[in-house]
Symmetry: C2
Subunit: 222 residues, 2 copies
Amino acid sequence: MLAAAGIVSHSQASSEPANIDALVLPVARIGTPMFYTRNSEIFGEGEDAEYIYQVVSGAARTYKILSDGRRQIGAFYLPGDIFGLEIGTAHQLSAEAICNATVSAIKCSSLSDLSRNDNKITHALLALTARELQRAQKHVLLLVRNAQERVASFLLEMVDRTAGAGSIDLPMSRQDIADYLGLTIETVSRTLTLLEDQAAIALPSARRVKLTNMRELRKLDS
Amino acid sequence: MLAAAGIVSHSQASSEPANIDALVLPVARIGTPMFYTRNSEIFGEGEDAEYIYQVVSGAARTYKILSDGRRQIGAFYLPGDIFGLEIGTAHQLSAEAICNATVSAIKCSSLSDLSRNDNKITHALLALTARELQRAQKHVLLLVRNAQERVASFLLEMVDRTAGAGSIDLPMSRQDIADYLGLTIETVSRTLTLLEDQAAIALPSARRVKLTNMRELRKLDS
DNA sequence: CGCAACTTTGATACAACTCAAAAAATGTGG
DNA sequence: CCACATTTTTTGAGTTGTATCAAAGTTGCG
């Protein structure tokens, strides 16, 4: 059921399960499962948006290549997250699998048809678009902070979204993180070691991060 | 009329009139005109979103204050632009008038009621939210570029939106521009003089900018 | 006209970038 | 399972773009 508080209700608390989207728009249930290998393209910028996708397992990233060749990552998508929804025909960004990933896809044309006659579906699309907007607005705020604050904020975002109880297994590389945070790979690496030196985190391996001092990280985030 | 190509049609060409929103959702026609003086608050972050607004004359800015006291401007709104729409009850950002401004406001509750039963209204809200999302995504890309590129991009955005034939009368201060671009006021000022030295722009007065070499500016923007 | 706010210019500092190389992790074939 | 090649991550040294601090011009309003 689609309740409506304000215009459309959807909880904004970070304690929500990552797959709340599944409640709003059950892509996985009606979608076709598709498998992508590490670094393979899911869709390209400018292409017609044929499908919308929900991550089942693995992870995906959306990105743009800037004129100087740098890559800016727009967002990371984890299991339960929906991506690739476009208002208009063409994809605004490209998307790739970060690691081997299973994704559930439904045809956009059919969704569009449903939406035209079903206000509930339109409301669900509105909720999803609003969520992306909020994410992008947070991203803007992230990019005007210093390296330590960006990295801390990224780590906190990741624990919140994976519900891993203070410990994360990052699916993405340092380069991915750097391109998301608008930093270089070296700065990300140095900042992580700095946070480790400050005992805010532990790095048992490069991809594994233990948040040992949440208070400190939140102070950097705030 | 609300056409639908893809999910919801709305032209993305920058040559569109700034007040295309008025065609989608004629706030001005059914809204109440309200007057705000320079720097006065239109709404505050966290407040319940009672109204949505359309600029009639003047200009508005949305912003957040960061923990370190800096201010990040989310967007500038010019005549015809709609702002203050929230999916959820509370405003995500604060809004102020940049200069004396007339704004047309309609009650959100009534809009919400209409939207619940009218798929056309919901589609219009979806289109507006999608527009904001695109704006925020562009903002992200802006913030990872260097000072000259950010300022050039900002100036081009402003001419595009004001249709002033290569000449702009900026309603906002250097501080506003700096807080939008994630730079300091000094860097914005220096960059403008640099662009003037390069004959890309002319500055007859501080608030008046003539884009004398669009090609050069677009090269920086791209 | 005079004061306050805004903008520009100058000198210096520093955070993040660049270039370079070492170290660690990951994958592959024998 | 180990040896080797490749990729990824970390660390180091030096550079640079933007911030900071300071002060001088400008503009506009009461």
